[in-house]
C-alpha cells in the first residue's frame, strides 16, 4: 500500500511522491555525505500509473535514522519493523516523484493513503480557485522569466486571513525539498505558499476563462487590415488567455507596458502587509459619554444613543488583534508594533484609501488624530446595508454591533392552519385542499409584527429602528410595499379560495430568491399549524397515529417502525416523495414491506405494481423477506440473463405487486421499464444515484410513478450534491436545478460553512426526510440489545468457478476415502470453500492485489462505510490469518485510517496496547481479530458492531466471539453480522444451524467435527454451488 505525499516545487509545480509499505525500510548505502536513494519510495513510473505526470527525481530532507528515512504515519507496513532507538535527524534522500496537473488532486486513487501535505495542496488549490472565481486578480506583466502576461492575485481582507492560515498549516514535509546542497532550513513557508497560490491562481483564471460559456475576447475585434506589428498592450491582453501567457514584443515596448502597469501592480500590495484598517460600528450611550458634552444634539436615536464608526488597525494574521486609533496616535501599537514599522502612516494610508471607497469618511479625517466618525441614523443604516460590504470588498475589516444580524430583514410571513395531524387519515388520498385558514403578515426575522409595531414603524420614518431591543434596518419603500401587499391580500382573501396545501408547501420550500418576482418582500417564514405544520417542521412522524400492522403482514413491528409506516403512508397519500434514512439495522426493509401490505390490503390488485431497485447483492434479501413477512405479496424478480423481456413483460408486471430489479439491469432495460406506469418506485441503498450525471441516475429519472421512496442509511456520504440527487428524484425540482443548488447551498455550506444556507436546506428537505438513529431515545427503548443480521453477498465469477473446481476435486477425494482420511478430506474441503468465499487469492496464494475479485470484500467495504459514517466501531473476526493480512493494508487504504489487527503472534503488551487504543474515543475504529486469538477473554465494548467474515460452523464459538462486544459495559445495541452467500456451503449450513430440527440427532461437539458425520449424498447437497450464488450479469 502506498502513502502519497505532495509538495509545491517552485518553477516545477505540484509534485507527488509516495512511500511503499512493501519495500525495504532501510538502505545498504552508508554514505551520509550525499543524498542516498530513498529505500521505500515508489518509482516514478509506478506512481504515474495512479497519477499521470512527468517523472522527476527530487532531493528531500526527511526525518531519518542512519539506515533509512522514518516512515510517515500514513504508511502501513505489511510486515512490522523494529522501531529504532536513536532519535531521528534530518537527512537528504533522493526521491522519485511525478509533476502532476492540479486536477489530479481531485481524483484520488483507491488503495492509497494521502498525507496531510496532499490535503494542504488541495486547500491551496481551493483557495486559488476561489480567488479566481471572485475576480480577486489583476493582470500584470512578468519579465523574468518571460515576458509573460500573468494574473496576479489580490489578497486582501478575509483572504489575507485564509492565506496566513494556509501558511501556518503547511506541514513540514510540504517544504522538504532541499533548495541547495547543504541547506537544512527548508524554504520559507510564506514564500512557498505564496508562490504556489500565485501560480495556481493564474492557472485557475485561465481555466475558468477557457471554460466560460461564451468566448471572452479581451482584444476588441479589428475591422480592416491587421497591422504587421500588434501593439504590445493588445498582445499582452491576448496573452492573458493563452496557456503560456507568452508576450511577443521588444524591450522598449515592454518597458512602456511595465511602467503603465505600475499603478496596478501596487494594488493589493499595500494591505497585504500585516495589518489593515478596521471599522467598528458601535452604539454609544450619550448619557454616559463624557466626550459628548453636546448632550441632546448628538442623541440621534431619541433614546439616548448615538452611532459611531471607530477606527482600528487590525492584524491580518490574527484578526482578533485590534488596536484602536487613539493608541496608535499615542505611539503604542502594542503587539502590532512588533509587526509593523510605521503604524501611524499605515493607519493614515488605510484611512486615505478607505475614503476612496467610502467618501463619507473624509470629514472625520480633518483633525490631527482621527479616531472615529460620528454617524447619523441614516448614515448608520447606509453603512450597515451598503458601505460595510464595500469596505469589506476593498480589503478593510468591518465589525458590526453585537446583536446585529444582516439576516434580520423585513419580510413576509405566512400563517396557515390545518387540521391536527393525529386525525389525518392516511389510507385514502388526503385532500390537498384542507387548509383551514391562511394569512400573510409582516415580520422581521422570526418576529411577526403586530398592528401597534407596524404603526410605530410607519411613524418612525427612519431607516434604523429599535425593535424588541435590537436594531434593524427598515427600508421605508419596502415597508410601504409590504403594507400594500397585506392590504391587497386581505381584500382578495374574502373572495378567493385559500391556497391548497401544495401551494403552501411550494411556498415554504422555494428559495427566497425565486419568489422575488411575485412578492414584494422575501418570505422569511411560514407558520403552519396542524398537519401541514408538522410536515414542514419534520415532526409528522411523531404526531401521526401509528398504524396497526396491516392484515396479511406476519412480522411484528416495533413501535418506531409503526410510526415509520404511518409516515410513509402519510407522504404517499399526499403524493410526496419520501426518503427513509433510518440508521442501518433499524429495519427499513420491513417498514417498506409493511407499507406495501398496508396499501394493498382490501384494495383491488389493479393498483399497479411497485418497482424496487437495489444493489445486486440485496435482490435475494428482498425476495426472501417479502416472502417471509408478506406472503400474499406477488414478487417478480427482474434480473439475470433469463429475465422476461419484450411483450411478456407487461403481463408479468400486471400479475405482480412488487418487481425487484438491480440498478444495473434497470439501466439496461430502462426503455422497457419507463413504458410502465408504476404505482411506486423504491430505491434501496439510494446513494446509488448520488451522482446525478451517472447513467443509472439519468435512467432512474425516466421512470414514471405515482409515488417515490428512497431508502438509505446514508442520505449523503460526502457531498451535498448527493442529497440533491436523491431529493430531486423524490420530488423533482424541489431543490432547484443542480447549478442553482451548487450556487445557493453546496458552495456556501461546504466551502464557507454558511449556517444560514445550511438551515434553509434543512428546512426545505425535512418534510421528506425521516432519519432515526439507534441512539434516538424514541428508538433505543424499542430495540433488542443484540440484532443478528445475515449479510448476503454474491460470489464473483472468478470465485464461482474456483468454488466449482474445489467441489469437483474434493467430492472425488471424499468418495474415494473413508475413516480418518475421509474426515480429513471433508474438513479440508470445508476450509478450502470458505477460503474461496473469502477471496480467490486466499486459495491461490498468489499474493495479488485485492481488487474487485471478492464479492465478500466488496460487501464488507459497503458495511464498514456505513458503520464508520455513523462514527461507530467494529470488530471483524476471521479464522484465516492470511485473509486478515490481506485485509489490513487494503482496509487501511480504503478508509484512510489505521486498522488494528490482533492475531496469535501478538504478545500481551501489544495486545493490551491495542485494546487500550481501540477503547479511547479518538482511537482506531476497525479491529480485525483472528477468531482463535481474539474470540475469548477480551472486553471490547467500544465496538457496537461485530462482523463474522467467515463462518465457524458452531454457533457457540461465534457467540463467544460476539460477546467480546456484547457484554457488561455495553450501553448500545450490538449489531452482529454473519456473511452468507446464497447457494453455497455458507447458506446451507447456516440454514442447518438455524433450524434446530435438522440438527437434532447430531451431537454438536466443539469445533466442526459434526460436519464429517454427514453422508456423501448430504455432503454433495451441502457443497454444491447453486445458481443463485453468482450473478448472471456483471455489475
Amino acid at each position: 500500500m502506498f502513502a502519497v505525499h505532495g509538495l509545491w516545487s517552485p518553477g516545477r509545480g505540484l509534485l507527488l511522491w509516495a512511500e511503499d509499505g512493501e519495500r525495504p525500510a532501510t538502505t545498504s548505502s552508508r554514505s551520509l555525505r550525499s543524498a542516498r536513494p530513498h529505500p521505500f519510495a515508489v518509482p516514478s513510473a509506478e506512481l504515474a500509473e495512479l497519477h499521470p505526470g512527468k517523472p522527476v527525481i527530487v532531493t528531500l530532507l526527511l526525518p531519518s535514522r542512519r539506515s533509512g528515512p522514518v516512515a510517515s504515519p500514513e504508511l502501513v507496513r505489511s510486515a512490522p519493523i523494529r522501531a529504532g532507538r536513536s532519535s531521528p535527524s534530518l537527512l537528504p534522500w533522493s526521491v522519485p516523484a511525478v509533476i502532476v496537473d492540479p486536477t489530479e488532486l481531485d481524483d484520488p486513487a483507491e488503495q492509497v493513503r494521502y498525507g496531510a501535505s496532499v490535503a494542504h495542496l488541495r486547500e491551496m488549490l481551493r483557495f486559488a480557485d476561489g480567488l479566481a472565481a471572485r475576480g480577486r486578480v489583476l493582470p500584470t506583466l512578468v519579465r523574468e522569466p518571460g515576458p509573460e502576461a500573468r494574473w496576479r492575485l489580490i489578497v486582501q481582507g478575509r483572504d489575507a486571513v485564509v492565506f496566513d492560515a494556509l501558511v501556518s498549516a503547511l506541514p513540514p514535509v510540504g517544504r522538504a525539498e532541499r533548495q541547495a546542497p547543504g541547506a537544512t532550513t527548508g524554504p520559507d513557508p510564506g514564500e512557498l505558499v505564496g508562490d504556489a497560490v500565485a501560480v495556481l491562481t493564474d492557472t485557475a483564471v485561465r481555466d475558468r476563462l477557457a471554460r466560460a460559456d461564451a468566448l471572452v475576447p479581451l482584444v476588441p475585434p479589428r475591422r480592416g487590415r491587421v497591422p504587421r506589428r500588434i501593439p504590445v498592450t493588445e498582445g499582452w491582453l491576448a496573452a492573458l488567455l493563452t496557456s503560456d501567457g507568452r508576450v511577443e514584443a521588444d524591450e522598449r515596448e515592454l518597458d512602456e507596458l511595465a511602467r503603465a502597469l505600475e499603478p496596478w501592480d501596487g494594488v493589493g500590495t499595500e494591505s497585504a502587509g500585516p495589518a489593515r484598517a478596521s471599522f467598528r460600528l458601535t452604539e454609544v450611550g450619550v448619557l454616559d459619554d463624557p466626550a459628548a458634552p453636546d448632550g441632546p444634539s448628538t442623541d440621534q436615536t431619541g433614546d439616548g444613543t448615538r452611532w459611531q464608526l471607530q477606527f482600528h488597525l487590525q492584524s491580518a494574521a490574527d484578526p482578533s488583534l485590534l488596536v484602536p486609533a487613539d493608541r496608535i496616535w499615542g505611539g503604542g501599537a502594542g503587539k502590532l508594533a512588533r509587526l509593523i514599522g510605521e503604524p501611524q502612516e499605515l493607519l493614515l494610508a488605510e484611512l486615505g484609501r478607505a475614503s476612496l471607497v467610502y467618501p463619507a469618511l473624509t470629514p472625520s479625517l480633518r483633525q490631527a488624530r482621527p479616531e472615529s466618525l460620528d454617524l447619523d441614523l441614516e448614515g448608520a443604516a447606509r453603512f450597515l446595508t451598503e458601505d460595510a460590504a464595500l469596505l469589506l470588498g476593498a480589503g478593510f475589516g468591518v465589525q458590526l454591533p453585537a446583536g446585529w444580524d444582516g439576516g434580520r430583514r423585513l419580510g413576509l410571513r405566512l400563517s396557515v392552519r390545518s387540521t391536527p395531524t393525529a386525525g389525518v387519515v392516511t389510507r385514502s388520498g388526503l385532500g390537498r385542499e384542507q387548509v383551514a385558514d391562511f394569512r400573510w403578515g409582516l415580520a422581521v426575522g422570526d418576529d411577526v409584527l403586530d398592528a401597534a409595531e407596524l404603526d410605530a414603524l410607519v411613524a418612525a420614518k427612519a431607516p434604523l429602528v429599535r425593535l424588541r431591543g435590537n436594531w434593524v434596518t427598515i427600508d421605508p419603500e419596502q415597508l410601504r410595499a409590504g403594507l400594500e401587499f397585506l392590504r391587497r391580500a386581505e381584500r382578495s382573501r374574502a373572495g378567493r379560495h385559500p391556497p391548497s396545501a401544495a401551494d403552501v408547501l411550494a411556498l415554504a420550500q422555494r428559495h427566497p430568491a425565486e419568489l422575488a418576482d411575485e412578492l414584494p418582500l422575501p418570505v422569511t417564514g411560514v407558520d403552519a399549524q396542524g398537519w401541514l405544520g408538522d410536515l414542514l417542521d419534520g415532526t409528522a412522524e411523531r404526531s401521526l397515529e401509528p398504524l396497526e400492522p396491516p392484515p396479511g403482514f406476519t412480522a411484528w413491528l416495533r413501535p418506531y417502525q409503526r410510526r415509520g409506516l404511518s409516515w410513509l403512508a402519510f407522504l404517499s397519500s399526499l403524493g410526496l416523495g419520501a426518503c427513509l434514512a433510518d440508521d442501518m439495522g433499524l429495519g427499513k426493509t420491513v417498514q417498506l414491506l409493511a407499507l406495501e401490505a398496508h396499501e394493498r390490503a382490501g384494495l383491488p390488485a389493479s393498483r399497479g405494481a411497485t418497482l424496487l431497485l437495489c444493489p445486486m447483492s440485496l435482490v435475494g434479501t428482498w425476495q426472501r423477506e417479502a416472502a417471509r413477512f408478506v406472503p400474499g405479496l406477488r414478487v417478480l424478480v427482474h434480473h439475470g440473463g433469463d429475465r422476461i423481456r419484450g411483450d411478456g413483460f407487461a403481463d408479468a408486471v400486471a400479475a405482480a405487486d412488487l418487481v425487484v430489479t438491480t440498478y444495473g439491469t434497470a439501466t439496461r432495460d430502462i426503455d422497457m421499464l419507463a413504458a410502465v406506469a408504476w404505482r411506486r418506485i423504491v430505491l434501496d441503498e439510494a446513494q446509488a444515484i448520488k451522482n446525478s450525471l451517472a447513467a443509472t441516475s439519468k435512467a432512474v429519472r425516466r421512470l414514471r410513478a405515482e409515488h417515490r421512496i428512497a431508502l438509505t442509511g446514508t442520505p449523503m456520504e460526502n457531498r451535498l450534491a448527493e442529497l440533491w440527487s436523491v431529493m430531486d428524484f423524490l420530488n423533482p425540482g424541489v431543490l432547484g436545478s443542480t447549478e442553482r443548488f451548487r450556487q445557493r447551498f453546496a458552495v456556501p455550506v461546504e466551502r464557507y460553512g454558511d449556517t444560514e444556507a445550511a438551515g434553509l436546506l434543512r428546512r426545505i428537505t425535512r418534510p421528506y426526510l425521516l432519519r432515526r438513529m439507534k441512539t434516538d431515545p424514541n428508538v433505543i427503548d424499542d430495540l433488542p440489545e443484540k440484532i443478528e443480521i445475515t449479510q448476503h453477498y454474491r460470489l464473483t465469477r472468478e470465485q464461482a468457478s474456483l468454488y466449482q473446481t474445489v467441489v469437483d476435486d474434493m467430492m472425488e477425494k471424499i468418495e474415494g476415502s473413508d475413516g480418518i482420511a475421509r474426515r480429513g478430506n471433508v474438513l479440508a474441503a470445508m476450509a478450502k470453500l470458505k477460503q474461496v468465499c473469502n477471496h480467490p487469492a486466499q486459495l491461490l496464494h498468489d499474493g495479488s492485489e485485492i481488487g474487485r475479485r471478492s464479492g465478500k470484500v466488496a460487501r464488507l467495504e459497503e458495511i464498514l462505510t456505513e458503520i464508520l459514517a455513523e462514527g461507530d466501531k467494529v470488530l471483524c473476526f476471521t479464522q484465516f490469518t492470511e485473509f486478515a493480512q490481506m485485509l489490513v493494508p487494503h482496509l487501511c487504504a480504503r478508509f484512510d485510517q489505521e486498522v488494528l489487527y490482533l492475531h496469535g503472534g501478538t504478545n500481551k503488551r501489544q495486545r493490551d496496547e491495542m485494546i487500550e487504543r481501540f477503547r479511547s474515543p479518538g482511537g482506531p475504529s476497525i479491529f480485525l481479530l483472528s477468531l482463535k486469538a481474539g474470540g475469548t477473554g477480551l472486553t471490547l465494548t467500544a465496538a457496537n458492531h461485530v462482523v463474522h467474515l467467515d463462518r465457524w460452523w458452531n454457533p457457540a464459538v461465534e457467540d463467544q466471539a460476539t460477546d467480546r462486544a456484547f457484554r457488561i459495559g455495553q450501553r448500545r445495541t450490538v449489531q452482529v453480522r454473519k456473511f452468507v452467500c446464497p447457494g453455497t456451503v455458507e447458506e446451507r449450513i447456516d440454514e442447518m444451524i438455524t433450524s434446530k430440527k435438522t440438527l437434532s440427532g447430531m451431537v454438536i461437539s466443539d469445533g466442526e467435527r459434526w460436519l464429517t458425520e454427514l453422508s456423501t449424498v448430504e455432503l454433495r447437497e451441502v457443497l454444491t454451488l447453486g445458481a443463485e450464488a453468482v450473478d448472471g450479469t456483471d455489475e
Partner: protein, 276 residues
C-alpha cells in the same frame, strides 16, 4: 556645435532633427491627449503650456514618449534631468522652483499634522485639493503660478525657452507626480521620509523597526514532520461582491487599446470568472 561623424554613414540620410535612439530611457505612457493624469501634475503642464509654442511642446511630448529622457531627479528646489537629443552628448535640463524656508516648513508641517486628511490622502497616492488652500493660508503657493516662478535651463543650442527638451522633462515629471504626489513636496524642500517623520514627531509618535519572522528550520520539526500546522481557517464567507468589483477600484490605466479602456475590455472576462 560639431558636425556629425562621417563614420556613421547610415545616419547621414536621417532627418537632421531626429534624435539619437535611446534604450532604457524614461518613457511616458499616455498615448494621446493630455499627459497629466491628475490635477496636481496638470498644474505644472499648465505652466509649461502657457509658455510654450505648439511645435516645441508636441516635439517635447514625442521625446517623452520615445524615452529620450535618460534620467530625472527631483531635488530640493530643482528637477535635474538629462535628455538625449541629436548630439551624442545628452543635454542637461534643470527646472528650478523655490524651496520654502525653515520657518515656512515648520508652519506647513504643523498645519499638515493638525489635519490628518492631508497625510492620509498623500499616503493613499493622492494630492488632496484642499492643500492649495492650506498653503495659501500660510502665504505660500504650492504650485508655480506662471513661468516666473520657475527657472528653466537646457544645455541645448535652441534659443527658445522652453525648448523641446525642457518640455519633455515636464511631461516625464508630470507622470512622476501622478504616481507619487510627495514628489511635489520634495521639490519644495521636504522629501517623503523627512516629512512623515516630522509629522509623526508633531503628532507625538515614535518609529519602531519591524522584525521579520524567520522560518523554523526543518530539523526542529521532526516530530511533526508529516502533520499539518495549527490553522484556524476563517469560516467567514467572502463578502458578496461581484467578480468585477476590483475593476472599479483600480487606478486609471494610461494606455488605451484602439479607443477602448483596458478596464472595459477586461470586464467581460471578470464577469465570466464568476460563472464557472
Amino acid at each position: 556645435m560639431a558636425r556629425m561623424s562621417e563614420r556613421t554613414p547610415w545616419w547621414r540620410d536621417a532627418p537632421p532633427s531626429r534624435p539619437r535612439r535611446v534604450s532604457g530611457g524614461i518613457q511616458i505612457h499616455t498615448a494621446r491627449g493630455s499627459v497629466a493624469q491628475t490635477w496636481w501634475s496638470a498644474r505644472f503642464i499648465e505652466v509649461l503650456e502657457s509658455l510654450g509654442v505648439g511645435g516645441r511642446l508636441a516635439r517635447g511630448r514625442t521625446y517623452a514618449r520615445a524615452g529620450q529622457t535618460l534620467d530625472l531627479r527631483v531635488e530640493p528646489g530643482a528637477v535635474v534631468a538629462r535628455v538625449q537629443g541629436t548630439r551624442p552628448q545628452p543635454y542637461r535640463v534643470r527646472i528650478g522652483l523655490r524651496t520654502y524656508g525653515k520657518a515656512e516648513w515648520t508652519a506647513v508641517e504643523q498645519a499638515l499634522a493638525d489635519d490628518a486628511w492631508y497625510a492620509a490622502a498623500l499616503l493613499a497616492g493622492r494630492m488632496p485639493p484642499e492643500i492649495e488652500q492650506l498653503f495659501a493660508s500660510l502665504g505660500l503657493a504650492l504650485f508655480p503660478a506662471s513661468g516666473h516662478d520657475l527657472s528653466m535651463d537646457c544645455s541645448c543650442p535652441d534659443y527658445a525657452v522652453p525648448c523641446k527638451h525642457l518640455a519633455a522633462v515636464f511631461y516625464v515629471l508630470a507622470e512622476r507626480f501622478d504616481a507619487d504626489p510627495f514628489e511635489i513636496l520634495a521639490l519644495r524642500g521636504r522629501d517623503r521620509e523627512t516629512l512623515l517623520a516630522n509629522l509623526r514627531a508633531r503628532r507625538g509618535g515614535t518609529a519602531q523597526a519591524p522584525d521579520a519572522p524567520q522560518a523554523t528550520p526543518l530539523a526542529d520539526l521532526l516530530d511533526t514532520f508529516f502533520v499539518a500546522g495549527p490553522s484556524e481557517a476563517s469560516q467567514l464567507p467572502p463578502a458578496p461582491t461581484p467578480p468585477d468589483a476590483l475593476l472599479d477600484q483600480v487606478p486609471a490605466f494610461p494606455i488605451e487599446v484602439r479607443g477602448h479602456r483596458v478596464v472595459d475590455l477586461l470586464r467581460p472576462a471578470y464577469r465570466a470568472l464568476g460563472d464557472g
